[in-house]
């Protein structure tokens, strides 16, 4: 199996490559803009099948040349690039996956369905943790029910010891800022609609040590696809984040200061957008922390997916908890819950385990239970709770 990973030196890309190498002994082309950064990442992985490569994902012809030669192209770079990379993969006649199109791009990507089918390839849209694992849990829950009414998704993260440390999101700061400044989309009563940023406040019980958190609607890809691809009458889909209170304040402050803006600002003759600045700052800090040998703090990433509906004429609910802790043995952070799914998916695409063709989100093409078992091998833990309710009185 041969996989081209774009954005290979990013937080997620690096871990995806490592998983491809360690679990599948795959041949990988690790591509990114800056060669030295990729080399740094690759040097830490024990494999002689990884080729670092400097490649601009915007350069369609260069990309196509490389893509032609692999089984799967996985885009781990910014989601804005999905719409540039995916068509090239389709043209090259190879499978494709990415980490999600942040709602709007997902819609655009779905328009390529026929082209992908004609080319005989599968483009898996949004196969990280969320979107990704959350979509698969939605599909798993729907399988347990006769009809589905509502799918609610929640996410929280944190550290075992409550710390006063700076807020480092478990994923790209760009995405965090986008999440706090762009209107989330939900499905309500069968209709897709946009709702105000940070509305839909609700308390939700997450696994310990998160416990009860206050969660808000956040723009995410799941509501873009899940009602359509899961069907069974699904009328409501939502995604909420339960922020750790400190992180929430920090991110909100950054967003209010305008760090989510793309518009360039002139500072001392240099013109840079606030979003570029904050991204660069975080990337630098991240690279430094990766280089340092500080003892790892115990940190986690949790998801909860509630699928409610009916089974045998009774109210029923399937709840999935996805729990990922940092792995002290391998030194891999909880962020692997986003980086591992593309690796498994690449393997499933290359070995023919995924047979549907077209542009499909995970809920439409991935068999949940075998996937959960693959996750378990990486200590990404999925628990399922099935609840049936009988009321012995007139409501």
């Amino acid at each position: 199996m041969k996989v081209l990973v774009l954005g290979a030196s990013g937080q997620m890309g690096g871990l995806t490559i490592r998983d491809l190498a360690e679990h599948y002994d795959a041949e990988v082309i690790a591509a990114d803009l800056k060669l030295d950064r990729i080399k740094n990442v690759v040097a830490k992985i024990k494999s002689d099948k990884i080729t670092p490569m400097s490649l601009d994902a915007n350069d369609a012809s260069a990309l196509k040349k490389v893509a032609k030669d692999v089984d799967v192209v996985h885009n781990s770079a910014w989601y804005e690039l999905n719409i540039k990379v995916m068509p090239v993969a389709i043209e090259a006649g190879v499978h494709y996956s990415d980490l999600g199109g942040f709602y709007d791009f997902t819609a655009k990507q779905l328009e390529y369905d026929k082209k992908a089918k004609d080319a005989g390839v599968t483009c898996v849209l949004g196969i990280g943790s969320s979107p990704g694992l959350t979509n698969i849990c939605g599909a798993a829950g729907a399988k347990k029910l006769d009809s589905v009414d509502t799918i609610n998704i929640y996410c929280s993260w944190g550290t075992k010891e409550k710390s006063e440390d700076a807020a480092f999101p478990a994923y790209s700061i760009r995405t965090v800022l986008d999440e706090l400044t762009q209107e989330p989309g939900i499905v309500e009563n069968g209709v897709k609609k946009k709702v105000p940023v940070l509305s839909g406040m609700t308390e939700v019980l997450m696994p310990e040590p998160s416990g009860k958190v206050v969660a808000y609607y956040i723009k995410h890809s799941e509501p873009q696809t899940m009602a359509d691809f899961i069907g069974k009458g699904t009328r409501n889909v939502s995604f909420r984040i339960g922020f750790p209170p400190n992180d929430f304040t920090t991110f909100k402050t950054l967003a209010q200061l305008g760090f989510g803006d793309k518009e360039k600002i002139d500072v001392g003759g240099n013109s840079v957008s606030p979003k570029e600045v904050i991204t660069a700052m975080y990337l630098k800090a991240l690279a430094e922390s990766r280089a340092s040998n500080d003892a790892m703090v115990d940190e986690y990433d949790f998801f909860r997916v509630d699928v409610t509906g009916m089974k045998d004429g009774r109210d029923a609910r399937a709840t999935y908890y996805i729990r990922t802790w940092n792995d002290p043995e391998s030194g891999i952070s909880s962020a692997r819950d986003t980086a591992v799914p593309p690796s498994i998916t690449a393997n499933w695409l290359a070995t023919g385990k995924i047979t549907k063709r077209g542009t499909i989100p995970p809920e439409g093409c991935i068999d949940p239970v075998p996937f959960f078992k693959e996750l378990a091998k990486r200590k990404i833990l999925v628990d399922e709770e099935l609840q049936f309710t009988n009321s012995f009185y007139e409501k």
């Binding site: 959960f372 200590k379 709770e385 099935l386 009988n390 009321s391 009185y393």
Partner: protein, 396 residues
């Protein structure tokens, strides 16, 4: 059919009479030590007088009780007086071939009651004991949960209550103040690892999620009948019972106990002698009797809430059946939430009289009461049982 109710003037007994008449459509002989109090109860609850005969009858006067049974030939007797009378009443009932039910025996009496089972078997009559809300509905819910599972591990029972009044009324228990005092002065017993184990008073503190508007509440072990029998009957390793007291009530009851109101030793006051517990009981009895005459409120404002968790295995996977039993005062019929204790003995008495329950012997509710039809009967009285059955699968 005809039912004889003892303790019919009580908080619970009066409502049992009402249910037997209005919902079960049976004839009732309502009795207590005071004809006057019983008559007042029947009148205050506006129970159809053509269906009820009132009578003065002390449940400790077994000779008179025997005479009444012989003369009136009731099909069943429902004992709603204090539990200290249970064994005596049973001995008369079994002699006369009359089915029997009551509100519970506070652990020790319960065990003595079911130890009589052989006598009842020989006589071919049924005694189903401990049939209020708790014990009673809780035992049936435990049985329902056990029926859902292949293997039962633990049954945890929680009880709570409250009201939505802006200023909470202090210390108004939904059951006999004597029982409350017992609960605060006697060591609770839990069924742990297949054995009865005495625990310290108010130990076992645990936060439990009850239905809204209670939410999370701190609960404590309390001596109760459920752990006496449910472990053995339902093959559970552990059975516990806890009460999640509303904070003010906990405070009031603790204060009363600390003031010495639990004492049965007569105290000299003015010219007379009275034991503190009896005095307190009379105070509560009068207040309840007066309260019953008042116009019933038009809104829902007070409730009882029970939670029963039955943990075990189903198809080799961990599974939990949880039952919530929620009862609000019924503004339409003007009946308080205390009906959740009064209705179960009425249903069981009716089922005994109509041969739906007929197993000869003396049993607790988890053995003889068929859960689903029982829950549906409760539903007709707006005693709302909700069952959640949960199976957990770990994919790792």
């Amino acid at each position: 059919m005809k039912a004889l109710v003892l303790g019919a003037s009580g908080q619970i007994g009066a409502l049992t009479v009402q249910d037997l008449v209005e919902m079960c459509k049976v004839d009732v002989i309502a009795s207590s030590r005071s004809l006057e109090r019983t008559k007042k109860a029947v009148k205050d609850l506006k129970i159809n007088p053509n269906k009820v005969t009132t009578m003065e009858l002390d449940a400790n006067d077994l000779t008179k009780l025997d005479k009444v049974m012989k003369k009136e030939k009731p099909d069943t007797v429902v004992n709603c007086a204090w539990y200290q009378t249970n064994l005596g009443v049973m001995s008369v009932a079994v002699k006369n071939g009359v089915h029997y039910t009551d509100l519970g025996g506070f652990f020790d009496t319960t065990l003595k009651q079911i130890a009589q089972s052989k006598k009842w078997k020989d006589a071919g009559v049924n005694a189903t004991v401990g049939l209020g809300s708790t014990p009673g509905m809780t035992n049936v819910a435990g049985a329902a949960g056990a029926a859902r599972l292949d293997k039962v591990d633990t049954i945890d029972i929680y009880c709570s209550w409250g009201n939505t009044l802006p200023i909470k009324e202090a210390g108004w228990p939904g059951y006999s103040i004597r029982t409350v005092i017992d609960e605060f002065t006697q060591q609770p017993v839990a069924w742990l690892n297949g054995k009865h184990k005495k625990m310290p008073i108010l130990s076992g503190e645990k936060e439990v999620l009850m239905q809204e508007p209670i939410g999370k509440v701190k609960s404590y072990y309390i001596k109760h009948s459920e752990p006496a029998t449910m472990g053995k009957n339902l093959k559970a390793k552990n059975v516990t019972f806890r009460i999640g007291f509303p904070a003010q009530d906990l405070n009031t009851f603790k204060t009363l106990v600390q003031l010495g109101f639990a004492s049965t030793k007569p105290l000299k006051a003015n010219d007379g002698k009275v034991s503190p517990i009896d005095y307190l009981t009379i105070m509560y009895q009068n207040a309840i009797s007066e309260g019953r005459g008042e116009k019933p409120p038009k809104e829902k404002f007070e409730f009882d809430d029970f939670r029963i968790d039955v943990f075990g295995q189903k198809n080799g996977l961990p599974a939990v059946a949880t039952y919530f039993i929620e009862t609000w005062n019924d503004p339409v019929r003007g009946i308080s939430s205390a009906r959740d204790t009064a209705v179960p003995p009425a249903i069981v008495s009716y089922w005994q009289g109509t041969k739906k329950i007929k197993a000869p012997g003396a049993y607790t509710a988890e053995v003889t009461v068929d859960p689903i039809p029982f829950f549906k009967e409760l539903g007709r009285r707006k005693i709302n049982v909700t069952e959640h059955f949960e199976r957990v699968t770990k994919y790792y």
